[in-house]
Structure formats: structure tokens, C-alpha cells
């Protein structure tokens, strides 16, 4: 057991570090407002430089412009970039999840058209799966795509929780193309140009007041015949690929909220808090949980490097992480007192930010269902929607509520 680099990993790390020494001066600040166009274009430019240096799409195959390296090298790049105090790529969703999906399911034309500009930050992508009535139950999407006689598609409906939609060039969208078959069957994946007429993006404000997500509305949007990804009716399978890649990204960022470091600093500076056994118990439990996530991350990364696909249990890291972060902010604010809730306080920002994160990417309940069934092998809940045509299902719900 060894957390150090192998000689090869070490020399790769040195290569990355050297490039960053050369170039980090041109990097924009790590954080800035995603509603500020100037900041976004600076981040695009930086992503382009990273891509040219082979530091974007590290795990992408070489034939589509990637470096064809493994997850450990990806983590090495992430570590060195943050070490250098520089921001990473702008389009994490595109390069991390949507690009790999296109590589797996896209046509040659789609790959050659879209992957390059995505990699270089010229065209940012967004993921348009969730809907107001299709969150945990993703297969319940109602956004409809009807094929026209000329083969084109007409898109109507609404998506929500769409990150980066405000400056994205394209979105990968899950739509219902057949409502008369069971809900998992009638779905198709599309590539949607965000500048197409009929596409309207509206910022969705969170508790903090900031619009961290968007709603996207589609009113008779026309899509080319070749905008289908992975074949008509295969949308569910294509979506699962995206979710699988999403899972790969969970758990390696245990410090990402920075809450634990900030918490320890705040407490250690407050002698009264340091003497309080209850405060110490809360701190000890929080740090313990975060350490567990960190070292389980190394276990997962090792497995990943050995070619094992991470199972749903990876979701447990998210559960631990979010709840520990919530406990950390509660403790920090309890020690600071009401002043922690001042508008400019980092504590109040985190307090507002974390509740939304709890349901992001599937509620804790759904995660625990999946893990209980897929990992522990417990029997599933009775499913009342199995094999029922989607149209009937909706009717049933409406009448049930009416009752």
C-alpha cells in the first residue's frame, strides 16, 4: 500500500508541473462569477491552453484529441493545477460526462464535429435531463420530440437544474419520442444548439439568491435528423452512460467545500470553543467522516486504475460528504454566532448552498434505495409503473391527486 507515485507517474507529474510553472501566470483567478462574460471567456481561453498542452481530456482516447491516460493521471493533473493556484477546465460537465457519452454512442460525424471544440472550450456543453416532474424518477421526462415528415424533429417542453446553460453552445437533451410505450422505452437523446430559435434560458435562483442553475424552455424548436445520439428509443441507455461517468467524478473532491479547513481555523482561533467538549465531539465526528471519504477515494481510485467500474456504493461518499459539510457549517456558525449569518459571511453562503446540493444528482433516499438493492441485494420496492404505457401512467397520477 503506497500513496506515492510510481516512477512513471512521478515523471508525468513533473511534466505537468513544469508546464504549469511556465504558463500559470496566464491563468485567470480560480473563482469568479459565471454570470460575468469576461471571466467566462478568460476561462475558455485557459481551457484552450490546457487542451493544447494535453491537460484537458486526459482520459479521452488519443484519436479524439485526448491523452489516452488513466484516472490516476487525471487526478495528478487536478492536484497539480490546484497546487498551482490555477483554475481547471471550464466545461467539466462536457469533458467529464457528455464528451465520453458522445465518444461511446455518437456517430463519426458527431464526434468529429463536436469533440474538438468541446475540448478546447470553444463550445461549452450542458446536460438537459432533469425536469420539474422528472428528478429522482428521470425516466419520467415529459419534454416531447415529434418527428416531422422531412425527418427533422420538433421539440417542446422544459428542463431544469441546467448548469452552464447561460453560456453553453450545445446541450445533450433527453426527450420522449413515444408516449405509448413504458416510460424507459420511449426516450431518445438529442444534441440541441442552445442558440436555436425557440430555446429560452432563464436563471433559477437558489436560497442564496444566486442563479447557480437554469431553467430551459423549448417552444417548437426544430432539430436536424442527425441530432439524435445513440438511436431513436435508446435514450435511457445513453443517459445511463452519462450517469456512469458522472459517478466517476464523485468522491475525489472531499475537500472541495473547504468547509473542514475553514472550520478548524475558526475553532482553533476561539479558545472558548476549543475547551467545549461538545464542540470537540462534533468537530471530531465531522473530520472523521471527511477523512473516511478521502481514503475511500484512494481505494476507489486504485480500483478504477485497475479497470474496475465503480458501483453505486460510490454514492455513499456523496451522502457522507454532503452531510458532513452541513454539520461543519452548522458547527462553525454555532461557534461564531448570529454574525456567521452576515450577508458577506462564507458561513452563510455555505449554509444557503448546501441544502440544494442534498438533492442534486438524486436525493439521498434514491441513492440509498439503489445501494440497498444493487449492493446489498435487498428486494426492490413494488413498482406500480412497470410496463405501463407512459401516457396511462400520467393519467393515473392526475386522477389520484384529484381524489
Amino acid at each position: 500500500m503506497d500513496l506515492n507515485d510510481t516512477p512513471e507517474q512521478a515523471s508525468y507529474r513533473e511534466e505537468v508541473r513544469a508546464w504549469l510553472r511556465e504558463n500559470k501566470a496566464q491563468a485567470p483567478p480560480r473563482s469568479g462569477s459565471y454570470e460575468d462574460n469576461e471571466y467566462i471567456s478568460a476561462r475558455r481561453a485557459w481551457q484552450r491552453k490546457l487542451a493544447e498542452a494535453g491537460l484537458a481530456g486526459v482520459t479521452w482516447p488519443r484519436d479524439v484529441g485526448g491523452r489516452g491516460l488513466g484516472p490516476i493521471e487525471q487526478v495528478t493533473v487536478n492536484q497539480e493545477i490546484s497546487q498551482a493556484g490555477a483554475p481547471g477546465i471550464l466545461d467539466v460537465i462536457g469533458i467529464g460526462m457528455l464528451g465520453p457519452c458522445l465518444i461511446a454512442h455518437g456517430s463519426d460525424e458527431q464526434k468529429s464535429r463536436y469533440l474538438g471544440p468541446m475540448l478546447h472550450g470553444d463550445e461549452v456543453w450542458c446536460q438537459m435531463f432533469s425536469e420539474p416532474a422528472a428528478g429522482s424518477d428521470l425516466a419520467a421526462v415529459q419534454t416531447r420530440a415529434r418527428q416531422n415528415d422531412d425527418g427533422t424533429w420538433t421539440l417542446n417542453g422544459q428542463k431544469v437544474w441546467t448548469t452552464n446553460a447561460q453560456f453553453a453552445s450545445f446541450g445533450l437533451l433527453l426527450a420522449r419520442t413515444d408516449a405509448d410505450v413504458p416510460k424507459h422505452k420511449g426516450l431518445t437523446m438529442f444534441i440541441v444548439p442552445m442558440d436555436a430559435s425557440g430555446v429560452v434560458v432563464r436563471g433559477l435562483r437558489q436560497i442564496s439568491g444566486e442563479a447557480e442553475f437554469n431553467e430551459v424552455f423549448f417552444d417548437d424548436v426544430i432539430l436536424d435528423e442527425d441530432s439524435v445520439v445513440g438511436g431513436v428509443g435508446n435514450g435511457w441507455g445513453t443517459a445511463l452512460t452519462v450517469l456512469m461517468f458522472e459517478r466517476l467524478t464523485i468522491g475525489f473532491g472531499s475537500e472541495s467545500f473547504g468547509s473542514s479547513a475553514q472550520l478548524a481555523a475558526t475553532l482553533s482561533a476561539d479558545p472558548a470553543a476549543c475547551r467545549d467538549i461538545e464542540v470537540r465531539q462534533r468537530l471530531g465526528n465531522i473530520i472523521t467522516e471527511l477523512l473516511a471519504v478521502r481514503f475511500n477515494g484512494y481505494r476507489a481510485l486504485t480500483a478504477l486504475a485497475r479497470g474496475q467500474i465503480p458501483g453505486p456504493e460510490a454514492g455513499l461518499a456523496k451522502v457522507t460528504l454532503v452531510n458532513a459539510a452541513i454539520s461543519a457549517t452548522e458547527l462553525g456558525a454555532d461557534v461564531v454566532g448570529p454574525e456567521a449569518l452576515a450577508p458577506d459571511s462564507d458561513w452563510s453562503y455555505l449554509i444557503s448552498f448546501l441544502p440544494g446540493l442534498k438533492s442534486a444528482g438524486g436525493t439521498e433516499q434514491i441513492l440509498r434505495n439503489t445501494i440497498g438493492e444493487r449492493v446489498l441485494g435487498l428486494p426492490p420496492e413494488p413498482r406500480l409503473d412497470k410496463g405501463v404505457p407512459f401516457s396511462e401512467l400520467r393519467a393515473k397520477e392526475k386522477e389520484a391527486v384529484a381524489r
Binding site: 454566532g337 448570529p338 454574525e339 441544502p355 438533492s359 439521498e364 433516499q365 397520477e397 389520484a400
Partner: protein, 377 residues
């Protein structure tokens, strides 16, 4: 043996609900986050309803009612996040009434609005009277008081005083050199008084850091028990407020859980959610039992009021923390958006748990009272 509300109490509560229902207080709570002027002025309503005189004897123009009625009103305010200044008002009127202050008729009539400047009574772990700090975990000493005849001179700062902005009269507690707590009535505009208004996260709560530098006030001659009672009354009021907020969280969450479907079933049919909402109900009912205990004890068993009020705050504080987060979770992503009501109750929970010693201090008081009782036995 009868442990239910009287018909009069039920009427008073319904009247309060009706009066507050004339305002869109929940929407106002949201708008006020960006525009403080959006808050309705509820003081005229309070005066009309006679709340300023609730705890003032009839001979001084009050209703001569008990704290219990105050808790019922606070509960209704909490239910709709109404910013009625009861936390500042009622403990202040309780002290003024005990002192038989000459300002009582004007206060009862609502012409003069008093605000209580809180000081926490000593505990087995902290011997002196203490006040909220501006920031940090350690409490600070209550203002220093020097007494000359009927005049009290105060020196010191009390952080996060509820309802102080705009109050006409401050009912402050100071500690003399020999450790005696004294209460003083100080005009808010008197020399040496500074009231630094602020809001924190929950725009419906008007607060201020109140500083006294050689500020002169009139002595309110009451015993330490009356001053301690004021602190516990404030604890019971936050508890009642929180209980009211919990009820709204539960009602809204249950309604949504019945109409929202996932995987072909109403989400409320799933055990995880059903049990979470049942837990909110459990905490709500426990909070109500303790609200009754506090209301009953203050009149019928005053020696138990510190225990009862602290227990009520501890339970209701945990109840609101849980209910507000649960309300967000039940609603999924949408529950964490600006336009939804859930975050407003969450904001209320976040500030309430840290005011006036915080929920944790109330829980600690329950322990202190229990240990004291056991040691005595």
C-alpha cells in the same frame, strides 16, 4: 386536572391568526431580503389586539393576562413569519409591570414601545450575568451598572438585541460592582445610548447591537427573580414562535407529499419520507406539550419555569431545525430555490437557533436544573 386550553385562550389564538392573516407576511419575508421596506408594519395590529398590555395589570391599563396568552400569540406569529416585536416587548412589559413603572399606561396603550435588552442569569458554570457577544463563542459580561438613588448608569454592549430598532424605551439589565443585577428603563434616544440596527439572514427579525456608554436610566426596583423570569420568558417565546413555524413546515410538506408523484406513487407513500414527516409531527407535539408546561408553570409553579421554558426552547429549536430542512428535502430541488417558501422557514430556523444563548444554552439549562434538583434530593 385539566390540561387543555380554555375557550378564551382558543379565541385569543384565533383572533391573532385572523389579524395576522390580513397581511402577506411570508411573501414579505422573501421580498424584505432584497428590500427591507417590504415588511408590513404590524405594530398597529399588535396595539389594536392589545398585545402590548397583555402582561400589564388592568389597573395600569393592561389586560392582566398571563404569559401563556403571549405564547399563543407568538405561536401564531411564527406560523406566518410575522415580525411582531413580541420578543422585545413582553419580557420588557413583564419587568415594567413588576416594577410598577409610571410608563405602564403609555406602554399598555402602545404609545411607548419598550424593548428588553437581555441578560442571561448565572449558571453553575458561569457565575455572572452575561450578554450576547457581537461575534464568537464566549459570552460577554452584562453591562456594568452604577447606582445612585433612582438613577442607573450603564456601560457596556449587548449584541443581537431583538426588536431594539425603533423602540422608544429600553429595559436593560446591568450588574453592579458587587454582582447584583439591576434593571433600568432608558429612553432609546438618551445620551450615551447607541442602537446599531442589523438583520442577519432572516429579514423578518429586527435586531440591534445596543451599546451604553455612561447612559443614564431610571431604576426599576425588582428582584433578580423577575430579571431571570424575563430571560426565561424570552426563551419560551422563541419556543412558541418556533412551534408555530414548525406547524406550517409540516402542513406544507404533507400537502406536497400527497400530490407529488415519483415512480408511479405519491412520494408520501414512501416510508423514508413518511417517517421523516412523522418525526416532524413527533417533535411538534412534544414542543406543544412543553409550551403548555411553560405556560402553566409560569403561573402555577414558578420555581419550575426555568426548567419548563428551557425545555420548551430546546425541543422547539430542534423541531424547527429538523422541520425546515425536512421541508426543503421533501420538495426536492425546488425546495432550495429563492421563490419557494421553504428557505424562508430555514432562514428563521438558522437565526433562531443562535439567538439569546442559542438552543444549546437552553438544553444546557435543562441539564443544570436537573442536576441541581438531583443534588438537592
Amino acid at each position: 386536572m385539566n390540561f387543555a386550553l380554555s375557550d378564551e385562550q382558543v379565541l385569543l389564538r384565533e383572533a391573532a391568526r385572523g389579524a395576522l392573516g390580513r397581511f402577506k407576511t411570508v411573501e414579505a419575508a422573501r421580498d424584505a431580503l432584497e428590500n427591507p421596506d417590504a415588511l408590513p408594519d404590524l405594530w398597529p395590529t399588535a396595539v389594536e389586539a392589545g398585545w402590548p398590555g397583555l402582561l400589564i395589570d388592568e389597573e395600569h391599563g393592561g389586560a392582566g393576562l398571563d404569559a401563556f396568552e403571549g405564547l399563543l400569540v407568538a405561536e401564531e406569529c411564527g406560523r406566518v413569519l410575522a415580525g411582531v416585536p413580541l420578543l422585545g416587548l413582553l419580557p420588557a412589559t413583564s419587568i415594567l409591570n413588576a416594577a410598577g413603572a409610571e410608563s405602564l399606561p403609555a406602554v399598555a396603550a402602545g404609545e411607548l414601545r419598550p424593548a428588553y435588552v437581555p441578560a442571561r442569569p448565572p449558571s453553575d458554570l458561569e457565575p455572572g450575568w452575561t450578554a450576547e457577544p457581537r461575534s464568537g463563542y464566549a459570552r460577554v459580561a452584562a453591562p456594568a451598572a452604577t447606582l445612585t438613588g433612582e438613577e442607573v448608569v450603564l456601560e457596556g454592549t449587548v449584541g443581537f438585541v431583538p426588536d431594539a430598532p425603533g423602540a422608544d424605551l429600553l429595559v436593560a439589565i446591568g450588574e453592579t460592582a458587587d454582582g447584583t443585577p439591576v434593571a433600568a428603563a432608558i429612553d432609546a434616544d438618551a445620551e450615551g445610548v447607541s442602537v446599531e440596527a442589523l438583520t442577519r439572514y432572516d429579514a423578518t427579525r429586527s435586531m440591534a447591537h445596543v451599546s451604553f456608554s455612561q447612559a443614564r436610566g431610571r431604576l426599576l426596583s425588582v428582584g433578580p427573580d423577575v430579571l431571570a423570569d424575563a430571560w426565561y420568558l424570552a426563551q419560551a417565546l422563541i419556543a412558541a414562535e418556533s412551534l408555530g413555524a414548525v406547524q406550517t413546515c409540516l402542513e406544507v410538506s404533507v400537502a406536497y407529499a400527497k400530490e407529488r408523484f415519483t415512480f408511479g406513487r405519491a412520494i408520501g407513500s414512501y416510508q423514508a419520507l413518511k417517517h421523516e414527516l412523522t418525526e416532524v409531527l413527533r417533535l411538534q407535539e412534544n414542543s406543544r406539550g412543553l409550551e403548555y408546561y411553560a405556560g402553566w408553570a409560569r403561573r402555577s409553579k414558578p420555581e419550575e419555569f426555568p426548567l419548563a421554558a428551557s425545555a420548551a426552547r430546546s425541543e422547539a429549536g430542534h423541531a424547527l431545525d429538523f422541520a425546515a430542512r425536512s421541508m426543503i428535502n421533501v420538495h426536492g430541488g425546488i425546495g432550495a430555490t429563492w421563490e419557494h417558501d421553504a428557505p424562508l422557514f430555514f432562514r428563521r430556523a438558522q437565526l433562531s437557533r443562535r439567538l439569546l444563548g442559542g438552543t444549546k444554552d437552553a438544553t444546557d439549562r435543562v441539564a443544570e436544573q436537573t442536576l441541581r434538583g438531583a443534588a438537592a434530593a
